[in-house]
Amino acid sequence: MPRWLAHLVVVVAFAALVALAFSRVDYTWNWAGVWEYRQKFLQGWLTTVALSLAALVVSTLVGVIAALCLQSRNVLAEATGRVYVELIRGTPLLVQLLIGFYVIASAVGLENRFVVGVLVLSLFSGAYMAEIFRGGLAAIPKTQRDAARAIGLTPWQTLRLVILPQAVRLVLPPVAGQLVSLIKDSSLLSVIAISEFTLNAQEVNSFTYSTLESYLPLAAGYLLLTLPLSALSRWLEARFRYEA
């Protein structure tokens, strides 16, 4: 059976199962009510896209810097990196958001919710990225750096021509996974009243009391973002496979 057909069969079977479950539940559907609020869904979705893209860029940057700190021989740099990673990975994002927005941002006078939300989300994701990058860097055999030095490459050239190309290929799968998590984690930004996708769906639910009709489009909206990302990641992996 060709692969795409197998995927289709499984999805259809699953959908049939779900439809069967729904048919047995005493639930009156109210799609019309929810359709009235389609503007909210769209706005929320776009906000989530913007949040995720911004956090994606910043967290990659943060992750690279933190990974270099972790690898550094400078004691202070390594300590900063380690404390940052352990602190962020050891506390819930919710707690970081609340403290970040209501305590730290207020203290430094940073008022813009969106900016604070992106920063907190980026710092959160960046810690995981840092560990991923560090693992990728560590997986490159020491002899590679030796060979680069032996040829006469400068440290910067070694990083650019030898280390980074290999590291990128190694970290691609876990980074893609982290980005998918980022998109889903962005839903938590609703607790500081950022009007992203999940909050908007919840609001529609509050107004229409149509829970499933509000949340099914919500799930679909997230899949619309995460599925292409996963597919892209798999395609990139395949393309770079004969390397490293």
């Binding site: 609703s190 607790v191 009243a193 639910n205 509050s206």
Partner: protein, 266 residues
């Protein structure tokens, strides 16, 4: 096995069987009354230091269950999840200080109202807001709690100011005390209580700009239960039950509101 031991074993079996059947029969006879509420709204729905549900609504639920001859089960559900829970039969009724509104009445049925109150404003100390007319001004920020009538009011009436939709009452109050929001639209009682706790950073505009009544929520078509609940509310009021609840949980508030002539009564 000895004959004597045999008899003991048999007796034990019968006792156990009888107990089991009796229990089953008792269970079948009266199903527990499952009441949904969000235990985050003192003094109506809250938990005591030991974590047990308590408050005005809990007492009301206990009295209702006793009146119906059923055991009480309190389900702690987030406010905006109460109606879905009722519709999908996870609970039998909602006693959670829920306002009876025409929009909600399209999805669920309401009992006779049991409390009259209204929407009021918790305003930041430095904010220029003086009344509900000052809310829909560009540049102002209004906080509401998701799923409440305050949220519905804001969605319908506030187009130019910014509306912050928060999950929890505490978060909304924090926004006001920190000056991030000009006002929090909530019921007058809670506004009073929050202002009492945050005297320096807030002002309370207690005069309700929209009157509301609270009722018990029931499934559409569940007429039998609705009759029983309405009957209960009538007899409970006659017997002075609400007076007692007011004295137990809201003595100060009752007095303060009476002094200012603000409606808040059962």
């Amino acid at each position: 096995m000895s004959h004597r031991f045999h008899r003991i074993l048999l007796s034990a079996f019968f006792v156990a069987a009888t107990g089991f059947l009796a229990g089953a029969a008792a269970g079948l006879a009266a199903e527990p009354l499952r009441v949904g509420m969000e235990l985050a709204y003192p003094p109506f729905e809250m938990t005591d230091p030991q974590g047990r549900p308590t408050g005005v609504s809990v007492r009301l639920a206990e009295a209702l269950a006793a009146h119906l001859g059923r055991d009480l089960v309190v389900e702690n559900i987030a406010f905006d999840g109460l109606i879905p829970a009722l519709k999908t039969r996870k609970i039998d009724c909602i006693i959670s200080s829920m306002t009876a509104t025409p929009e909600r009445a399209r999805s669920i049925a309401f009992s006779q109202p049991y409390l009259k109150t209204g929407l009021a404003l918790l305003v930041g100390a430095k904010s220029p807001v003086q009344s509900s007319a000052d809310l829909d001004v560009p540049g102002r920020v209004i906080a509401v709690k998701k799923g409440t009538t305050g949220h519905q009011y804001a969605a319908a009436n506030i187009k130019r100011a910014r509306v912050l939709v928060l999950d929890k009452e505490n978060a909304a109050v924090l926004e006001v005390t920190q000056g991030k929001a000009d006002a929090f639209i909530y019921d007058s009682l809670s506004v009073f209580r929050n202002h009492a706790r945050q005297r320096d950073t807030t002002r309370a505009l207690l005069e309700p700009f929209r009157e509301e009544t609270w009722a018990i929520g029931l499934r559409l078509g569940d007429d039998e239960l609705r009759r029983q609940v309405d009957g209960f509310l009538e007899s409970f009021r006659q017997a002075g039950g609400f007076e007692r609840l007011g004295e137990e949980f809201l003595p100060e508030e009752k007095r303060a509101f009476k002094e200012r002539g603000i409606p808040f009564y059962f």
